[in-house]
Structures are given as structure tokens and as C-alpha cells.
Subunit: 457 residues, 2 copies
């Protein structure tokens, strides 16, 4: 329970920007996936870094947990409040503070979403490439080290964040990183906070790298005779040094759903969805090379989309796929897997996952960012059927165990939250204790997003 | 003083691989630059991770400092032993343990040098791109977050290290990272250890990313009417999205020295040395675009080197430049600056540095990795003249202060060691205290490379 004193202090600072209404609390306890709701006891809507600092300091003084909130699109319960406390919703801190085209950088508040940033950048010739599908906040994306379809060419959030302003567990405000392209000046704190899921501090400003809008863009869909063939084509393309901006796999089950629900009109085969960025010549050359590779692996004719609106329809369909798949079973929720394996092991991992899902009897279409070795099974379950949820979690854990055997990771881009907490010891061994030691060093009272990412008493 | 018990334990484990001979100690106390020698009290030469773990555990039990040593080419006193203790020389741990061409990875011991790795990789079609000039050890390069001429295209050591085995301050062995291309599974410990200069633990194995040998390589030298013109050409090229593999600036003083000492036969003008990697078409296209940019900024005709041996002569001359410059003043040593600024500020930073050096009367040729905004002044000083050393340090500190004003960093690639320790508070502010808290969390007794990187009592 938040002490009344703490609530009063917060209320006197924030007025109506402190909320304890049930609907607001419920909204901030919800998860996009199967996790049970865990609402906070209060939600605050700060406007400035200074306010975040004061909120966190008040919470620290009173022993109140603090959870950061962007758009609520995290998949592993990152934003929920299992120990109650205060959720800091960053929606009002949504300003693009400074665009620095000459250094290809932008400074933003954490509540800016990736789409609103790109809208603002449109006239500059620059863009922000990371695209996890959801229109997530940039603070949330950095906190979970998000990536998505374009990471295969542009890297993940970790590769874009040049500098941070962070409010620490005691309310101190620090600045990490610089605007230079590289630095050897001590521990890479920027990288430590990126992916720390709000457990070490809260980002209140981010300086992000921008990229030049590509001169030419070309997208394609390509069906394959077999899953093996599609995956082998990806492996070959990556090993040959092709640099697609996107190279996405969708299995037959996903294709059927997209055809039925979204009018995709694709042949009922496993498909790759691709996009190439670059000069006209480079795009043409890469597309031709990929065409040869695809043909050698049972790929059919390419269907090309060089018009912006055709591409936009394609990727919008891909981004909606999670919700389209969910909608095939009314009232269902999902356990979403997220393993990432070395590229050479991708076929082995996906084939085993597909066989396990088939044997379980659950529906679990597979799709993913296969150029990175990262894919998801959307395991559909009845939220009120504990046996189905248990079976889906068993499948997910088996995929993780296999991925770890293959030299991969339990989560390529969704993060740990509390949904993958039980897998961290298997993945990291004694290194997980080191993460715990770092957590205790920066948050000795364990108030920053408690119950997530690290082992905590 | 190392307690006799500790020495006996080490001797019984290591036999002749424990050395306390004066010449060996002196060798491990030396610096490549102006820093006074600070030898350890003993040097050990382990063969295995297990031995490193036992050595560190013995030292921990007896309160003995531990310093890691690669090839001794660090520039800021990283390998010196200001508090005595044991230096662990990794020269015997020099095995390439596993090449994984299908995932473009290699697993190495820390004592493997970058040149020996590339020799071993030659037949695979892959190579390791990071090139700091010196034939440094890969462990040392990771520990200082080294980069060099090729970082502008391939990134720094931070971008290449996929996974680590680390011996912690208490002797525990941990593994960080995976073989997957990305992961969101908790704090990025790999990135925390890269650049930590042996102050948090010692790397005993590194899994590194490899790259395909480029189909075509082309190098060029290009003289400019003015420094401004050369730097503006770099800024324009980077802002237009060119991706040179190398784009190096050498000032007129450096050109004169290379002409006199190395037979460079270059016109006495500021020069850019360039290299492009890619397909034949991409290399030709980038080179042509750069030619246009250079011409607009007072650049002369390109001299092209497409033959491997011509290129090799060019880069070998560039890599020798530090020692060639040193040799122009017999008996001199150097204070080597290493600021890195946002690319748009590069001209401003270099012009001010050149003016300050000129005003000081010291010799200080300027050269650097300008595509990254990183450059060095080689300030030549008499090792026995405290006034000259003080003046060079004053110049270096002024360059850092200016770089910080411009949004840059005190060190782009050399690291902190103890030579840049006094600048860390100005660069990081309260974030430096956070580094100190992390240090205390992982090395509570302050025995790992003490006196470097963080504030320590």
C-alpha cells in the first residue's frame, strides 16, 4: 500500500496528473498477452525530467515501487505492477526536442512514438528505422531493447541509442553517452540502461541515431515449396552478405489467416516477405541475387512492390498479423515465443518448434525476423483455461531450451519482464547473479520495476 | 607488497610461469607514451581460464592487485601497476579456439593478436576488420574498446564482441552473450565488460563477429588546398551516406614527416587517405561520388591503389606514422590526444587544436579517423622535461574541454587508463559515480586494475 503521506506529496505536486481511478489503474495493469492483470495503486503523468526525479525521490523515501509505462505494448508483463506502487506514464513527455540533421541525430522525450517521430522527420530526408510492429514509445523500445523487421539491416534499439538522460532510483538525474559516433570513456552505461526494462532507472531523454531515407526501396513476396527451402534461402542470403532491410518468414498457417482475414491472396505456401533499401543499382542487384538464391531453394516467382502504397499495405498486413492471428479464435489470448538462434541453426529450430506445436494440438502460427535468426510462435490459448496456458508455456520453454542448446537466447527482442524470468538462470548461469549485483548497486531497495528481469527477494 | 604466502601459492601452481625477474617486471611497467613506468611485483603466464580463475582467487584472498596484459600497446597506462601486485600476461592464451564460418563467428583466447587471427582466417573468405594500427591482442582491444581506421564502416570492438568468458574479481567464471545476432535477455553484460579495461574482470575467451572479405577494395590518397576543405569533404561524404572502409586525415606536418622518413612522395598539403570496400560496382560508384565531393572542396586528383601491395604499403605507412613521428625527435616521447566529436564539429575542433598547438611551440602533427570525428595530435615531448610534458598535457586537456563543449568525448578509442582519469568527472558528471558504484558491486576490494577508469579510494 502506498502510504498516505506519499500520495499527498505526489498529489500536491501533480494535481490531476495523479490518478487513482479504477479504470486508469486497470488500464495500466493490463498486458497484451496471457499475463494476468496487475494494476498499480496510482498512475502519474509527469511533464518534465524534474518531475520524474521528484516522483522517484518521493517513492524512494516511502519505499514505494515505481514502474515505467510507454504505450503498454510490451509482451512479457514489463509494465505491470505485481507489487503495486506508482506507474509513471510518459505519454505527456512526447516532444521531439531537437533534430540535428548535420549529425544525423535526434533528441526525444521517452513518450514519443516511433511513428510520430518519423512523421516529424519526413521533410528532413532522414528516418528512424527500428520497427517492432506496434507503434511503441521510443522510451519503451529502448527499455526492452526492441528491434523488429528492420533490425537485420539497421540493428536494434541498442545500436541507435547514442546518449541518455536517466533518473536513478534515488531521484538523481544522470547523462550517459555523447553525440560522438564512438567513445572509450569508461563503462558503456548507455548500453547498460538500454534493455534494463526500467529496473535500474527511468529514461527521460534519448539521443537517437537517424538514417538517410533510402534512394530506392523495393519489396517482394516469394512463396516456397517447403519451409526448409524458405529458411535455407534466408541462411544462404545472409551468409553471402546480402543486406536486406527486411526478410520475414510467414508459415502456411499464417498465410491462410492473412488470406482469409486480410485478403492477402497469397498461394498457400510458406513465404518470405522482403524489402531492399539502397541506391537504385544496389537494390536491383541485391534483388536479382536474392532471386537466384530463392530459385535454387524452391522459391516461386517474386511479386514485386515498388510503389510506396503497395509496400505500405504489405508491411501493415505483417504488423497486424499478431492481432489478425489472435482474432481467429474469439476471446483467445496468446503466449508469444521469441527465441533467437545463430542463423545456421534457424531451420533446425523452426522445424522442431513446428513439430512440437503440431503435436500439442494448439494453434501456433510461426512468423519472424529470420534474417536475425529470430522468430515467434503465436500460441493461441483460452485465457480461462489453465491447462491450455500451461501447455503453451511448456512449448515456449521447450523452444527456449532448444534455442539455448543451439547457442541462442530466450528472447531476441521482447525482453524478460516477468514472463521469461524463470529462464534467465538457464541462459546466463552465474552471469545472472552479476546482473543481480548490478541491480542491487543501483537500486538497493529494489523499488524500480520490481519482480522483473533479475532475481529479487 | 605481495604476501609471501600468495607468491608461494602462485609459484606452486605456475612454476616457471611465475616471474619476478627485474627485466620482466620492468617490461610490464612500461608505457608506449609519456607515462612513468610502474612495474608490478610479479608477472604470471597462465595457459587456461581455470588457471586465471585460480590466480585471481589467490590474489583476492591475499588482497593483491591484478592487472591484465596483452601486447602492452595501450596508450594511457592501462597495463601499468601503480599499486604493484600481479600482472597476468595473456601471451600463452593465444589460440583460435573455433571458427564458425556458417555464423560468421570466431571464438578466441584473449592473447590472439588481430594479425594472427586474420592470417588464420585467410582461407575462409572471412576477416576481422578492427584495426587500431598496433598488432594488439584481441583481449586488450576489447578491454579498451579499441577501434582505428576501419571503424567508420565496420564499427568498433564493441560492435564485434558477441559473447565473452570473464573471470570476476573473486575468481568466478561467467559467460555473457550468446551466438545469436541479437538478444533482449537482461542487462548487456558483454557491452559492460567491453571497454572496462580489466577493472571489472578479465576476459578469458571472446566470441567475435567476422565479415566477408570484400569482393573489391580500392584505396586512394587525395591532397587538398586547405585543412578546411579536407575536413568539409569528409563531413559532406559522411552526411551523404557514403560508407568508406577508411577515411583518414593527415595534416601537412604529418605529410612532411612521411615524405622525409618513409618516402611517401606526397605533395605538401593536407591529405585524406581513403579505402572503399564492396562489390566492384559499389566501390566504383562510391569512389566516383567521393571524387566529386573532393573536387568541390579543393581536392586534387585522386591517386588510386587497386593493387593489394600498393594498399598494403599505404596503410602500413599510416600505421607506422606514430612511430615515424616519434622518431623525428630522438629520445622524445609523446602525449597522444584522442578526442572524438560529432562529425559536424570536426572542422571547428581540428582548427582550434592546430592553432593551440602552433601557439604552444610544441610539435604536434594531427592525424585521425575523421569519418568517425576522431583524431589524434602526437604532441612530442622530452621525457625528462616536466615543463614540456605539462604543456602537452595542458594542450590535451584543452582539446578535451573543447570536445566536451561540442558534444564529444575525451577518448574515442584509447580509453581512460590513468592518463585520462582526471577528465572523467567533466565528461560524465554524476554518471561517473554510477560507474564507481558498478565497480564496487563487482570488485568490492578494488583489486582489479586499481587506479584506472573509476574513482577509487
Amino acid at each position: 500500500m502506498i502510504p498516505q503521506d506519499a500520495l499527498s506529496e505526489l498529489a500536491s505536486m501533480l494535481g490531476e496528473r495523479l490518478s487513482t481511478g479504477k479504470s486508469d489503474l486497470d488500464l495500466h495493469g493490463r498486458s497484451e498477452t496471457y499475463h494476468a492483470p496487475m494494476p498499480p495503486e496510482a498512475v502519474v503523468y509527469p511533464d518534465t525530467t524534474e518531475e520524474v526525479s521528484r516522483i522517484v525521490a518521493i517513492c524512494a523515501r516511502h519505499g514505494v515501487p515505481v514502474v515505467g509505462w510507454g504505450t503498454g505494448t510490451a509482451l512479457e508483463g514489463h509494465g505491470s505492477a505485481p507489487r503495486g506502487g506508482v506507474t509513471i506514464d510518459f505519454r505527456r513527455m512526447d516532444k521531439v526536442l531537437e533534430v540535428v540533421p548535420e549529425d544525423m541525430l535526434v533528441r526525444v522525450q521517452p513518450g514519443v512514438t516511433r511513428e510520430s517521430l518519423n512523421t516529424e522527420l519526413r521533410a528532413t530526408g532522414l528516418f528512424f528505422p527500428v520497427d517492432p510492429g506496434a507503434n511503441a514509445s521510443l522510451g519503451g523500445m529502448a527499455a526492452t531493447r526492441a528491434s523488429g523487421t528492420t533490425a537485420v539491416r539497421y540493428g536494434t534499439m541498442a545500436d541507435q541509442v547514442r546518449a541518455l538522460e536517466v533518473v536513478l532510483a534515488d531521484g538523481r538525474i544522470i547523462h550517459t553517452g555523447t553525440r560522438a559516433r564512438k567513445s572509450s570513456a569508461g563503462y558503456d552505461l548507455t548500453r547498460l540502461f538500454v534493455g534494463s526494462e526500467g529496473t535500474l532507472g527511468l529514461m527521460t531523454e534519448l539521443t537517437l541515431r537517424l538514417w538517410g531515407q533510402p534512394e530506392a526501396v523495393s519489396a517482394a513476396v516469394c512463396g516456397f515449396d517447403t519451409t526448409d527451402g524458405a529458411i535455407d534461402a534466408v541462411i544462404t542470403a545472409m551468409q553471402m552478405g546480402l543486406t536486406p532491410a527486411r526478410i520475414e518468414y510467414v508459415d502456411v498457417a499464417t498465410v491462410r489467416i492473412l488470406n482469409a482475414a486480410d485478403g492477402a491472396a497469397l498461394p498457400e505456401r510458406p513465404h518470405l516477405l522482403l524489402e531492399f533499401h539502397g541506391t537504385e543499382e544496389a537494390v536491383a542487384a541485391e534483388a536479382a541475387r536474392f532471386g537466384d538464391i530463392a530459385a535454387e531453394h524452391g522459391g516461386g516467382a517474386y511479386a514485386w512492390a515498388t510503389q510506396a502504397e503497395d509496400r505500405s499495405r504489405l508491411w501493415s498486413m505483417r504488423h497486424r498479423a499478431y492481432h489478425t492471428i489472435l482474432a481467429t479464435r474469439p476471446g483467445a489470448t496468446a503466449v508469444v515465443t521469441d527465441v533467437c538462434v545463430p542463423i545456421s541453426k534457424l531451420g533446425e529450430a523452426i522445424m522442431r518448434a513446428a513439430a512440437d506445436i503440431h503435436a500439442s494440438g494448439l494453434d501456433g502460427p510461426i512468423l519472424g525476423h529470420v534474417g536475425d535468426g529470430n522468430y515467434h510462435a503465436i500460441l493461441l490459448v483460452d485465457r480461462d483455461d489453465p491447462d491450455e496456458i500451461a501447455e503453451a508455456k511448456r512449448l515456449s520453454d521447450a523452444m527456449v531450451a532448444h534455442a539455448l542448446d543451439l547457442g541462442g537466447t530466450a528472447t531476441g527482442e521482447h525482453g524478460v519482464g516477468f514472463g521469461k524470468l524463470h529462464l534467465m538462470e538457464a541462459e546466463h548461469g552465474a552471469a545472472w547473479d552479476v546482473m543481480g549485483a548490478l541491480k542491487r548497486a543501483l537500486d538497493p531497495d529494489g523499488l524500480m520495476n520490481p519482480g522483473k528481469l533479475v532475481r529479487q527477494n
